[in-house]
Structures are given as structure tokens and as C-alpha cells.
């Protein structure tokens, strides 16, 4: 099968979950003998196209409007058209619509009329104009889109909200099938207006875990890891407040625990956020280490040294890659008990959940993890493309677009 796989961003130097999902899927499909061309959208690329030889990846200059996710430059259509025509794929599989452009499905249908167009949904950008996080500007979790409510949340007109949603829903009709990596996200998109029969739950492919031989925890401190971009939605401030709480109320615990904070990107969210995080960091003792950005290839090493992964996101999440990777590396997870996180951390054999945004609840969970016996993680992640290939085949060679 010839498969064009489109990642909404170039996954270097720092890859997000959606980019890693596309990379892992490409590797899994290639390992089964399929011809895969990976393409990544790069807003601001000097030329129309480029080529990343190290990763065998076509780069396409492709950028979208911040809310409607249609191309900022309609001429982008011709670039994609040429690429699709020359590769002649059986499947065009898009990971995300931001940067890639909601019109890409239309252009793919024109350039390769017999190809099937699949779109894996990441985040809730089509549903939520507030950064696609379904987290209101007043700091509340949001349960669904409503024109007036959304307009007031982001300070725009109901007309603008209705226009963006309608345009996306129209362009999404060119997609043959949507993939929801979590059941939670699937339901949100159904609530928004996608027909249930057009959206299928298929977990992301996760890289094979590294073989891990872990030293018994009794002979060493328990190591917690936080691995994420440092956006406000990922709850780094909640974690740091929880660690402060432990230092103040349970200082003896800090002798038995180590916390590694991985990730970067704090500067992208303004000076107020940077100041807040810097302030919280400054009071913490040496049991907490800030280790900076990490590459996907490093994750095996990181999990090999970890006893627990902490995922304190304050938004719903979709299917956090960090949880999947952690569980498949047999590292249990402490996660906020909502959305895609609660869906994955759904029993004591996978870890424990706590109230999102509550530092005391997280501190309590950390203290509980210090005292608890080691958890034997039971989890099998999708490490091959079986589910994706089944979906591709189910669409048949000449199925019409479900409009």
C-alpha cells in the first residue's frame, strides 16, 4: 500500500505528541513493507518544499489561519497537489489539520481521486477557539462548544465562531474516516457535529519499549519524572506547588524521593508564566532537577530510571503519549483524573489519578506512591500498525467520500 503520511509539524528539535504519533506510525507501516512517504508542514520554510534527508521526510511550507485552519496562502494547494500526484498514494493520512490546512483533504481527493483520506484528530482545535484546549479563559474546564459561550470566552462574535465551525465541518466532508486516539476525544467531536459512523477509535502507535531492569526501590530514592512541554495547560505549576507543599509539610519525604522535570518551551507563554514558574522553582531543594528538552529516542533511558511518571495537565488531553510510553515501559502514572488521562490511567495496575489543578491532591498522591509497594504495570500499547491497516482496508478501493 502506498501511504502519504502528513505530520502537522516537523518533529525536530522538540516533538509534540502528534508528531511522534505520525513518526511511530510511519515506522510501523514501513516495517510491514508498505511504501510510506512522510511529509511535515513547516510554516515559514524558505522554499515551497524541502527534504529532510536524515529522516526521509518531505517538508512543505504550509501554514493556517489561527482559528479557521484554512491555508493563509491558497497557493499551498498546488504544492500539495504536485506532491500527491507524484506519489500517487492509496491512502493520504493526515495527522492534525493545523498547519496542514483543512482544505488539504479536498485537494487530496482531487489529486488522487481513488485515494482514501484519513484524519487523525489531535486536540480540540476545531471545537474550541481557546487554543483547542477546551479550557475557558476564566480557568474552567469546558464540556462542549456553544456559539455564544465560545464567543464570549475568546472575545469574538458568535458569527465568527459559527463561521469557523461551519467552514471546518464543510471541509471535513472530504475526509473518508476520522481517527480518534481516545474515546473521550471521539465523543467530543461527535458532540460537535461529526457523525459517529465517520469517526473510529484507534490508539496511536507507540514505539517499542526498551528492555528495563530496574533496581529494587527499597535501596534507592523513588524517582518521579515529569515529561512535557512547559505550557500552562500541562500543569507544571501544579506540580511545583505540590513539591513545595511536600517540602513544607513533609520534609522527610524529600530524602526518599527525586523529581526530574523534563521539557522546555516555557518562554513561548509570556513573561508572566515564566516569572511564575521561576518563582516556584527557586524555593525547591536539590531533590528536584530541571533537565531541559529531550528527544523521542531518549525516552527509553528516562523511563529506565523512573519509578513514577507525573502528568498533572489541567485540560482534558487527548491520549497523552507520555502516559502511553510510560505504561508501555512499565512505569505507573500519577495523572489528573479527567479526559484522556483518566481513560488511560484507569486502575491501580496503571497508577493513580488525582483532582486536576489541586497541588495538595497531587502531593498526597506522591506521598502515597512513596509509601506504596511497587506497582506491576499491566498495559499493552499499540506497537504496530495493525489497527490502522485494518481501517485502511475497511474503506475499500473505491468507497466514495461520506458526505
Amino acid at each position: 500500500m502506498r501511504i502519504l503520511l502528513v505530520s502537522h509539524a516537523w518533529p525536530f528539535p522538540q516533538a509534540g505528541g502528534a508528531e511522534v504519533a505520525a513518526l511511530n506510525l510511519a515506522a510501523a507501516l514501513r516495517s510491514e513493507g508498505h511504501q510510506v512517504q512522510l511529509a511535515a508542514c513547516v510554516p515559514g520554510l524558505d522554499e515551497e518544499t524541502g527534504y529532510d534527508t536524515a529522516n526521509d521526510m518531505v517538508l512543505v511550507r504550509s501554514a493556517t489561519h489561527p482559528r479557521s485552519y484554512v491555508w493563509t496562502d491558497p497557493a499551498t494547494a498546488r504544492v500539495w497537489e504536485r506532491l500527491i500526484e507524484s506519489f500517487a498514494p492509496d491512502i493520504v493520512h493526515l495527522h492534525h489539520y493545523v498547519n496542514a490546512g483543512a482544505e488539504l483533504a479536498l485537494v487530496a481527493k482531487r489529486a488522487a481521486p481513488r485515494a482514501k483520506v484519513i484524519l487523525t484528530l489531535h486536540e480540540y482545535l476545531a471545537i474550541c477557539p481557546q487554543d483547542g484546549q477546551m479550557f475557558t479563559s476564566s480557568g474552567q474546564l469546558c464540556t462542549g462548544a456553544a456559539v455564544r459561550k465560545c464567543a464570549s470566552c475568546v472575545g469574538t462574535t458568535p458569527a465568527a465562531i459559527a463561521h469557523h465551525a461551519s467552514t471546518l465541518q464543510a471541509l471535513f466532508r472530504y475526509v473518508d474516516r476520522f481517527i480518534a486516539p481516545s474515546r473521550f476525544l471521539k465523543q467530543r467531536y461527535i458532540d460537535w457535529g461529526l457523525a459517529a459512523e465517520r469517526i473510529e477509535y484507534v490508539p496511536n502507535v507507540v514505539a517499542s519499549p526498551s528492555p528495563v531492569v530496574r533496581a529494587p526501590a527499597a535501596n534507592r530514592p523513588v524517582r518521579f519524572v515529569f515529561m512535557s512541554q512547559h505550557t500552562p495547560y500541562k500543569g507544571l505549576d501544579v506540580l511545583l506547588e505540590a513539591l513545595q507543599y511536600i517540602e513544607e509539610r513533609h520534609p522527610e519525604a524529600t530524602k526518599h524521593a527525586l523529581v526530574d522535570v523534563w521539557g522546555s518551551g516555557i518562554e513561548r507563554f509570556g513573561p508572566e508564566w515564566t516569572e511564575r514558574i521561576d518563582g516556584l522553582k527557586s524555593g525547591l531543594g536539590p531533590w528536584v532537577s530541571f533537565r531541559g528538552a529531550y528527544q523521542p529516542r531518549q525516552t527509553g533511558q528516562i523511563y529506565a530510571t523512573a519509578d513514577w511518571t507525573i502528568v498533572p495537565s489541567i485540560w482534558w488531553e487527548n491520549r497523552p503519549l507520555v502516559i502511553e510510553e510510560s505504561l508501555s515501559n512499565r512505569v505507573p502514572v500519577l495523572a489528573s483524573g479527567i479526559g484522556g488521562m483518566a481513560e488511560l490511567v484507569c486502575g491501580p495496575e496503571r497508577g493513580r489519578t488525582f483532582e486536576p489543578g489541586d497541588p495538595v491532591a497531587l502531593a498526597t498522591a506522591i506521598l502515597h506512591a512513596l509509601d506504596a509497594p511497587p506497582t506491576t504495570v499491566e498495559y499493552s500499547a499499540a506497537i504496530d500498525a495493525t489497527d490502522h491497516l485494518r481501517l485502511y482496508s475497511s474503506l475499500g478501493p473505491q468507497t466514495d467520500t461520506a458526505r
Binding site: 491558497p74 482544505e103 479536498l106 456559539v147 455564544r148 458569527a159 463561521h163 464543510a170 458526505r403
Partner: protein
Amino acid sequence: MGGAKVLINKVARRVGRARDRLTGRVAPRLSIDHGFTLDGAIFAIGWHEAPDMTVRAGRSRRNLETLRVLRFHRPDLIPMLGPNNLAGFAAISANSSSASNTADIVVRIGTGTTRTFTQRRPALVAPYETIVDIAERLIASGALDRQSAVRVLVLPALRHRVAAQRANSAPTVCKYRAGHYPESCALNVVVPFYGSFGFAQNILAVLSLISGRDLEGGLAVTFVCDDPRMESNFVDFVRSQNESVNRLPLAVYSHPINRGFAAACNTGAAATRGAVTIFLNSDVIASGPETLVRLAQTVAGDPTIAAASPTLLFPDGMLQARELVTFENPLFPGFTLLEPPCKGLHITGTFPDVEDADLLPGAMLAVRTAAFDQVGGFSLDFGSGDFEDAELCTRLRALGRLVVINATALHLEGHSYQRKVLEVLARAEIFRELCSR
């Protein structure tokens, strides 16, 4: 103060003469009907015998009267002018020839356009928008009641503007035509644009979804730019978007001046021969083509139907309009207005697939093109904005049924065109006149 005293005496003498004119003892040159003070200025509204414009009535020739609003920047005289002191206003106006007391003529509107005699084209000094603005201020100040403001100021000004729009003979130009834009088709979708084209991408995306299976006989899309201010950007955007992404059988026509919604619709309808024409406001948005297709199929499939419209909704799903009915709004006594019943209410029940309607709103209006041509298209008497859809329906009604179908479209009412109450009322007057013919 001495100068002011002399002037006041002068004014007092003139008051007597003005009264004589008003009572007919002296041949009137300027008769003042209304006077008021506002923002430190004195306004006088009245009829003026214009020496530069003549009319012929039978064998005799006479000067044409024009309506004038005069403004005097004389705050020192304001205390002399009590309420309803028309004689005082008349005196000040009569004194306007003196160098110290010259009036701005803020409005000069010719009248007699409906009279039987010929005349030179009357002059319009103030722009239409200014006149509407003045009328609003007159009402706010209590100087004029709404009915008088509409009938004395806004309506003549509107008629003047419409006449000027019609008199402009600059041709409509086709600015873009895709190679496969057809000479004839099953459906011509006409979209007039004015002010902005922010929703054009939605329209193009939705129309791209109409396939040959949906519509035997083919589609044409006709955009009409009725706003020369945005023409260049609009045409560039549409050309680029269509050639790169949508590839629709699309043409863009442009008016050299703003001629209004009705004229833009007529231009679009004449661009190609469609069995059915759908007039689509640029601020109607949809997530799919089903409503457009059903409208076209409904009109094409039943020869008894002349026009059809869907249920229009507000963006939040509330009912906006299924049909229009005429009614007397107690807030505006003396005017017959249009109203969609149940506007703003939540829809809890279901509607019939096809239901006969009184009059249809024009935001997404499908018409049998032959019937549209037979009645002569949209009336251009309204200028822009309101009532032309309902008025068209009153004529189409003679040729077939008007129906509303059980399909919906979101209409972002007011995004494409902002109305002022006085303009609506003036158009209501035109609607009443046209319907009574």
C-alpha cells in the same frame, strides 16, 4: 452687545415680513416648516423657491421648490428662539443673506420628482447618510416627529440616491471568469458582496461539495462585488482561492459604484442562464450543501412553485425567519413593516417538508429563473437593504407558490449590512407604495 441688539431689532422686523410670507400676504421665497437649535447652532427646515431650477406646468413655467435645511452658527440668537417660534426661525432664515448671518445649506433636496411636469434634475447637496444622520438628530432633539422626519427628509433623500445610482451609466464589468463557467446551467448561485468578504471561504467550500449527482445540469457560481472599495482585494482573493483550491465554475462581476443588493442580484441573475437561481447573502453560512441542493430540487421539481427559502437560524440555533408577514408595529405608528413570526424563539417541534409562505426572506432565496425574469427581477426602488425580497415575492406570487422547505441555514443577520431605523421606515413607505400599485 450693541451689535447683537441691532441684529435682534433687525430680526424682529424680519419676523413680521416672514409672517406675511407664511400667511400668503407676500409671495413666499422661503417658508420655514420646522426650526430647532442643536449643538449651539440654529436649524431651519423649509421650502425654498429655487431660481436655478424651473418646472413647467401646462403653459406656465415656475421655479421649483426645494426642501432646505439651513444651519446658522449664531449661539447669541438662540435665547430669542422659544419653542415653536417658527416666525423667529423664518426671520433668521430670511436674514441669511447678510454677511454676518450666512447659513450653511446642509441639505437641499429637490422635490416634484413624482409630479407630472418636467424639471431639471434637482441638486442634492448633502450626502444621503448625512441627511439620515440629521433626521436622527432632529428626532432626538424633539424638533421633528419620526413620521415627519421619514417623509420630509429621509424618503426624498433615499429617492434621490436611488435616482443617482440608476443614472450612473458606468458599466458592470466581469472581473474574473473561470474557464468552465457555463452559458447555461441547472443552478446559478448568485452571491452579492458588500463591505466585507470574510465568509467567502465558507461559501466556496460548501459549493465545492455540490456534485453532479446532486444537480443534473450543472452549477454556476456568480459573485457580484457591489463595493468598489474592496473590489481589487476581493477579486484577487477569489481568483487565487478558486484557481488553487476550489476550481468552481465561478465568475465575478463588479459594479463601479454601490448599487445595492437588488441591483447586484439582478446582475448575477443575468450573468448566465440557470433554470433555478439562488440568491445567497454573503453572510449565510453552512456546513454542507444539502440546503442549497434541496432548494434547487424543490423549485426545479414542482412547476407550481415560483420561489423557495429554507428556515433561517441565528448562529446559536434560534429561529430567525421562515417567512415574512406585514404588520403594524405600535412603536412606529403609521408604518407597515415586515416581521418574521417567532423570531428569536427556540425550535422545539418539526416543520413540514414544504409549507406555503406569505412572503419569503431573501437571505437564501431560490427562484424559478423564468418567473424572476417575467416579473422583471428585483425592484431597484429600495436602493439597498430591505424590503426588496418581500416586494419581489408579492410579484412572484402571481406566477406560483412561495414555499419554505424544512432545511436550515445560519444567517449572520446584520453582518453584511447595517440598517438605521429611519432607513427601514423610508423603505417601508416605498414598499407600501409599490404594493398598492
